[in-house]
């Protein structure tokens, strides 16, 4: 199918790239299907683009690039809902907020988006951990990743 996207304009997307979010995303409960876009020039930001609403795309980042010691403790009920049986099938992405003053950009480390890439199921979950925050400052780390050695994932 042809998909209209904020970041890349119109692109061709095959059905097996569409990730289903059974409950939508917090704030966007009516949107159930997304594709993950990885424009090279935007590294290390990826975008979770809604299939149903072309104007909705969330900037996301690999949390392990942000904090190599990130240790999310996910409720079993969420893992079951995503039919996760093998850690190899999972990717985590955390939503960024980039205000006009980008030095104030933040990342939500409390609520990673978990995707079962084999079954194409996704959900944004609230972790059991209490050491993370919804708006952790990101700018210095972001610039470090952008200029640093970490490879695109």
């Amino acid at each position: 199918m042809i998909l209209d996207t904020i970041i890349l304009g119109e692109i061709e997307v095959s059905d097996e790239k569409i990730i289903h979010f059974g409950k939508g995303l917090p704030g966007f409960e009516e949107l159930h299907n997304f594709v993950l876009l990885n424009p090279e020039k935007m590294y290390p930001i990826l975008f979770l683009q809604s299939v149903e609403n072309s104007k909705i795309a969330l900037p996301v980042i690999n949390p392990f690039n942000v904090n190599k010691d990130y240790s999310p403790s996910v409720y079993d009920a969420d893992l079951e809902e995503l039919k996760i049986t093998d850690a190899e099938d999972v990717i985590l992405l955390n939503v960024m907020v980039v205000p006009a003053d980008k030095k104030k950009m933040t990342v939500n480390m409390v609520a990673p988006i978990i995707i079962n890439i084999k079954k194409l199921l996704g959900k944004q979950v609230i972790l059991q951990n209490n050491q993370y925050s919804v708006r952790e400052p990101l700018y210095d780390i972001f610039i470090g990743i952008k200029n640093g050695g970490a490879k695109p994932c």
Binding site: P59, Y75, A77, M96, V97, V98, K102, I126
Partner: protein, 67 residues
């Protein structure tokens, strides 16, 4: 909404296997203890509210600044 008054150390039972105990209480803060099966998610309400706000802010970003 069901409203129940509890004294310290009194409990509320929800369903067959969830118990909530009022552990401590002062004028503007109460400590609650939860006993529930691991499958039950217990989350501070404001984390969901804040995540909704952050997601809405996230889609309003101007991405051109980030290239």
């Amino acid at each position: 909404m069901l409203v129940l008054s509890r004294k310290v150390n009194e409990t509320i039972i929800i369903g067959d296997d969830i118990k909530i105990t009022l552990l401590d209480c002062n004028s503007d803060k109460a400590s609650l203890g939860f006993e529930a099966p691991k499958s039950v998610k217990i989350i501070r309400g404001e984390l969901l509210v804040d995540t909704i706000k952050a997601n809405i802010d996230a889609v309003a970003c101007n991405f051109d600044d980030l290239k």
